[in-house]
């Protein structure tokens, strides 16, 4: 009786929390393993039928859908929370009050490599000080999402920045350097508010919005809000322990997401997910593309349309 989960490191804290509680409830009769091999790595195993559930910080992509299809793996797509990618700076930074997507792009686009190294090159109003860059590891869903949202193309980024899979490393870096700027998931910012400052992002409507639960729910923290998911192997769902686990997760995800500093979805999103399971509504609503800047509202609308 083992439920095997693998995939995104972003979703890991939620799944882990659920797994912990679930195993306690089941008094050890069911074992749950939660691995971290990233969204892509998770799908790779998932589509070979090696895992029951895959954590994903982005929707499944066309290539992965094809893999799953080839192996005869069918799946349910269940959103579990929202994450706000947070752009952080050192709290002692005197000049940055907000930043636009264009400015971020100037800093992070591949063409900036080795050239854009001082703040005044981005915005002449800013001082002539070096830019110190920190970002998610190049093989994480976070990196993929940020580059797509800011630079317009997934994985298109300059390379000369401190990259780490371990977001604490980034927290440490930004908090110890006054000229630093970096990005990572909201949870790490939330836990380290004392050491960091979240930079408000000017959204497409022209408002500068700082990341927060409310802003994500209101759909104003754009384009850096993103949904995160679990994908459940349809065949595995035939196993009672997997089914039980997924049901338990849908009932408790909101509570745990909040606990580990993600933005929980409205209750109907979770019941909707359960409904998909019960009605056998398999597949994805994203058509194999990663989409940027989707709001909770839009997500729910699509899910119900499945």
């Amino acid at each position: 009786q083992v439920v095997k989960i693998d995939g995104s490191s972003t979703v890991f804290p939620i799944t882990e929390g659920v797994a912990e509680d679930f195993q306690k409830v089941k008094k050890g009769a069911v074992k749950v393993t939660v691995g971290i091999s990233g969204t892509g790595g998770g799908f790779k195993k998932f589509c070979r039928g090696e895992t029951d559930i895959s954590n994903a910080s982005r929707p499944i992509l066309a290539k992965e859908m094809a893999d799953c299809k080839a192996a005869g793996v069918e799946y349910y797509e269940l959103p579990v929370a929202f994450d706000a990618l947070t752009v952080v700076i050192n709290p002692r930074n005197p000049f940055l009050k907000q930043i636009t997507v264009e400015e971020l792009k100037k800093i992070w686009e591949p063409a900036a490599q080795g050239k854009v190294t001082r703040w005044n090159q981005v915005n002449p109003a800013w001082p002539d000080a070096p830019i110190k860059l920190f970002g998610a590891g190049a093989d994480s869903g976070t990196f993929d999402y940020f580059t797509e949202a800011i630079n317009g193309k997934s994985k298109a980024s300059r390379g000369d920045f401190t990259a780490s899979e371990d977001d604490n490393v980034l927290v440490q870096g930004v908090s110890s350097d006054i000229n630093a700027i970096g990005y990572f998931g909201y949870a790490y910012y939330a836990e380290n508010q004392g050491k960091l400052k979240a930079l408000p992002i000017v959204n497409p409507k022209g408002q500068a919005v700082a990341p927060s639960e409310a802003a994500v729910l209101a759909g104003t923290y754009e384009p850096l809000s993103r949904p995160i998911f679990i994908y459940v192997n349809a065949k595995s769902l035939g196993k009672p322990e997997v089914k039980e686990f997924v049901e338990y997760m849908m009932k408790n995800a909101a509570k745990i997401a909040k606990e580990v500093k993600y933005v929980p979805l409205p209750a109907k999103a979770y019941t909707g997910g359960l409904e998909h399971l019960n009605k056998g509504k398999k597949g994805t609503v994203f058509g194999g593309k990663n989409e940027v800047g989707i709001t909770i509202e839009e997500l729910l609308a699509r899910e119900t349309a499945l």
């Binding site: 994985k155 980024s157 990259a163």
Partner: protein, 322 residues
């Protein structure tokens, strides 16, 4: 009393009938024992060859994945490109970027470990009293027993902030701090092995030097160190291999920033830290990203192989001659 030539010795047929019979008997016994001994030897040989199989395995795995890697990336680009962004949209595979990090961090570490380790070895072997040595050496050896991941956090959370007090410009991740801590970690390897080599120099040689009126320092430098040279060289080589191969300290404290630079005041990615970084992430088996870690591993393996061969050659050349 007779003086006899050798052929006058009491003659015994080389193969007397009794001798023949016993010989046949012996041959049987010998065969039986040899069968048993051969079997044991074969088993032992198999055990010894496991280490060769390990190497074969390593080379096979690294080369296999690297071959598919190099079918995508030309070796020329691999060796000359000045960027390392294998997982990016615009991928570059300039291994020298990682090499520069590896070399810089190793140099910093060795700049700490080799002088300190050597001085410690000389001190322990030639200056310290028996008691001092027997307490300090094991204590020092404990340094190499601390898991490196713990050193990594020590570098990041304790040493870097201290260094920033001296160099306010120093970024939170830098090769300097990681390298220094790595150097301290390597000290015992250098010190302990060098000291062993120096201890092994026979007392008679030292007495010879002292009897000429040498001071301890003169004895150490003129007699003990040259006599122990090959052992000390092996200690250095081991230290170098350690530095080049060290992973977690750099992964945690050096910042994983792949830029072509030899400045220890900057963050850098090394071959090893790149490999763990990728291993921590979501690289699907079989992708080009997955293969890069093997190509990087192969480069690392070749690098350490060079040092090890150098060490082997040094040992051969300067075998202890006392």
């Amino acid at each position: 009393m007779a003086i006899a030539p050798p052929d006058a010795l009491p003659s015994t047929a080389t193969h007397s009938p009794r001798g023949e019979a016993r010989l046949a008997e012996f041959a049987e016994l010998k065969k039986a024992r040899q069968r048993r001994e051969r079997l044991i030897e074969a088993v032992l040989f198999l055990a010894a060859s496991v280490s060769v199989l390990t190497t074969v395995g390593i080379v096979y795995i690294l080369v296999r994945e690297s071959i598919s890697f190099f079918s995508h990336v030309s070796i020329w680009d691999f060796l000359t490109d000045k960027q390392w962004t294998p997982l990016f949209d615009d991928a570059h595979f300039g291994i020298f970027v990682l090499m520069s990090g590896t070399i810089t961090s190793s140099l910093v570490a060795l700049a700490v470990a080799i002088p300190l380790g050597t001085v410690i070895a000389i001190y322990l072997s030639e200056f310290a009293g028996h008691k001092t040595r027997e307490t300090l050496k094991p204590l020092l050896e404990l340094l190499s027993g601390v898991p490196t991941i713990i050193y990594g956090f020590f570098a990041l959370l304790v040493v870097t902030p201290l260094l920033q007090k001296i160099f306010p410009e120093l970024p939170g991740f830098n090769v300097l701090s990681a390298g220094l801590v790595m150097g301290v970690m390597i000290i015992p390897y250098v010190a302990s092995l060098s000291e062993d080599a120096m201890r092994a120099v026979p007392m008679s040689l030292r007495e010879g030097a002292y009897a000429m009126g040498s001071t301890r320092f003169q004895t150490a430098v003129n007699v003990v160190v040259p006599a122990a040279f090959s052992g000390i060289a092996s200690a250095y080589i081991l230290g170098i291999s350690r530095a080049v191969g060290e992973t977690m300290i750099l992964a945690v404290a050096a910042g994983m920033q792949p830029t072509l630079s030899f400045n220890p005041m900057e963050p850098a990615a090394t071959i090893t830290s790149f490999i763990v970084q990728v291993a921590l992430g979501d690289l699907p088996h079989g992708s080009i990203g997955y293969q890069t870690i093997f190509a990087a591993g192969l480069s690392l393996m070749l690098l350490t192989l060079c040092f090890n061969l150098l060490g082997y050659w040094l040992r051969k050349k300067y075998r202890e001659a006392y």
